[in-house]
């Protein structure tokens, strides 16, 4: 009944809107530099104490790894059984191992291999993962199917388990082969993340715009899609640098990572196992160095994630 509806009509009050004058809309501030995800992320990271703590730690470990000679003049391989398991003396602040090696010198020189394995494996995994994930996600079709199935197979073998199997049969064991073997099993994780990020970036307006402007498919992928899909990969790569260092130490500890002659925290911890009752300090120092290094990369990963993921930033 229309008459009834009319009689029920009520007056609506609408709050007055302060309209922005058209002039103000046009006055876009064009002087200020454009803000990208990266500048935003940098601003967010810069303000956090954790970022500076982890960066300083990582820098310190890097300097120790590159110039170990600056920190110790003692030969880490010089062994004198006369000093076996002896405590700290002048010039040897952390005492001696069972074989009579200087613990401090070995901790300093051990950084090198950890950093090499961590960096090489992370770079390799990121490169392979980004390329494969981006191609699979962007072109789709049979390429995506084949790549995803192969990734599934590698993904179903846990990295450490696969590495244990290969390292036990491989003849040449050094930092590079350890990094190669670890990357062989770790790339699917990055590839999957990259594929997902590319899939969602592909839907964006700027990709349509780029196609409309006549830019080629491949150029669009390289210039627009990949840079916009990198954020999650960078987060995972930072954290995985720490996990690769742990993996190297674990393999060396098991006796199938670096060869016995190498200087590695994992090897030293494994060797000190026999002196755990008599001289726990020999196990403590390499363990502490290893843990602090890994902690630094994990902390940095946390900060980077918060900076690159606006949702995480809001949640904090």
């Amino acid at each position: 009944m229309p008459s009834n509806a009319e009689s029920r009509s009520a007056t609506h009050y609408v709050a007055p809107i302060e309209e922005t004058p058209l002039q103000a809309v046009d006055q876009v501030n064009e002087d200020e530099k454009t803000r990208s995800t990266w500048t935003d992320a940098w601003d967010s990271m810069r303000r956090r104490r954790t970022f500076w703590i982890s960066s300083v730690l990582i820098l310190l470990v890097l300097v120790v790894a590159i110039f170990p000679g600056l920190f110790t003049h003692v030969d880490p391989r010089a062994a004198d059984l006369e000093f076996s398991n002896e405590g700290p003396t002048s010039g040897h602040p952390l005492g001696f191992t069972r074989q009579g090696n200087d613990v401090y010198a070995r901790v300093i020189w051990g950084a090198q291999n950890s950093i090499i394995v961590g960096l090489v494996a992370t770079v390799l995994v990121s490169l392979v993962g980004i390329v494969i994930g981006a191609l699979a996600g962007f072109y789709g079709g049979w390429l995506d199917t084949v790549v995803s199935r192969i990734a599934d197979i590698f993904f179903s073998i846990p990295t450490i388990l696969g590495a244990i199997v290969i390292m036990s049969v491989i003849p040449a064991r050094n930092a590079i082969t350890v990094a190669l073997v670890l990357s062989a099993f770790a790339w699917p994780q990055i590839a999957r993340i990259m594929r997902g990020a590319v899939l969602s970036a592909k839907q964006s307006d700027y990709v349509t715009a780029s196609a409309a402007l006549g830019v080629g498919r491949f150029t669009t992928l390289v210039r627009h899609v990949i840079p916009n899909a990198l954020a999650p990969v960078i987060v995972v790569a930072t954290v995985s640098l720490g996990t690769f260092i742990v993996a190297e130490a674990t393999l060396s500890f098991l006796g199938i990572g670096l060869p016995d002659s190498a200087l590695s925290w994992g090897l030293d911890i494994g060797r000190a196992q026999t002196s755990i009752r008599t001289n726990p300090a020999t196990i403590f120092w390499p363990s502490a160095a290893l843990s602090i290094t890994v902690l630094a990369f994990l902390l940095l990963g946390d900060v980077v994630r918060d900076a690159l993921d606006p949702k995480a930033r809001a949640r904090r």
Binding site: D152, L161, V165, V169, L254
Partner: protein, 309 residues
Amino acid sequence: MLWYLGKRLLQLIPVFFGATFLIYFMVFSLPGDPIAALFGDRQPSPQVIEQLRQQYNLDKPFIVQYMLWIGGVFRGDLGVTYSGLPVSQQLAQAFPITARLAILSLVFEAVAGIVVGVIAGLKKGKWFDATALVVSLLLISVPTFVVGFILQYVFGIQLDLFRVTVSGDAPWSELVLPAIVLATVSFAYIVRLTRASVAENMSADFVRTATAKGLPRRRVVGVHIFRNSLIPVVTYLGVDIGNLMVGAVVTEGIFNINGVGGTVFRAVKLGEGPTVVSFVAVMVIIFMLANLLVDLLYAVQDPRIRYAK
């Protein structure tokens, strides 16, 4: 749901063959002669080598070797170790020990992790929360074998509460310490996961509604927050079954436990190809099934996954 389960099981088949082939390929075709490894420094006669090569199918093309092996696996025949013991028998002895170790670890990390995580999440920003966050981060960054040594030293040697190594049949009481070591990293992850989940749910609309309609805080926390916060934790526990299998290699090695991990640890050191292949294959299968379980749990929770084509 059944349709989804079927689809996921079908997807598992190529992955299973691919993964086992990859492992088999890695162990048996990379440089190094398993027969030579069997004899160590001694030089066996050509006839003996020939006979052994036939016995272990090493004279046949590689792909045939794999087919013979995988055929045997389906018949329950996992081959014979170089010392003449059937691998299946070795597995039957080792598996229950690792299963018990993994169960203890799961219980420990679930109970302790959820309790600490819930308290930290409810008191977000307070000292308990801050401590829990720092400790969990430390536990994640200290490698398992280091945690193993520390606990071995403190509880096994200094306080003399536990045995440092585990005896052959691994009674439950001796598995407590190794289980805690195995669980540390996952415990830390569960604390962080639960904390984040609880903290997020605290400000959820349904919690505000529950408080607004006058429910006591006990009920709001115990039913509304707690249950909803557990969803990601339960799925994490599923993934973790697979992780524990891998962690067992190191933990069982340290504590000298005769489980699946410990056997792989020793077989790797001795170059026992058949044992490594079969045990790792079993671990990969468990890992795959754990991942399947998690996917199913997701599907139960989220109907969008089940119906997605």
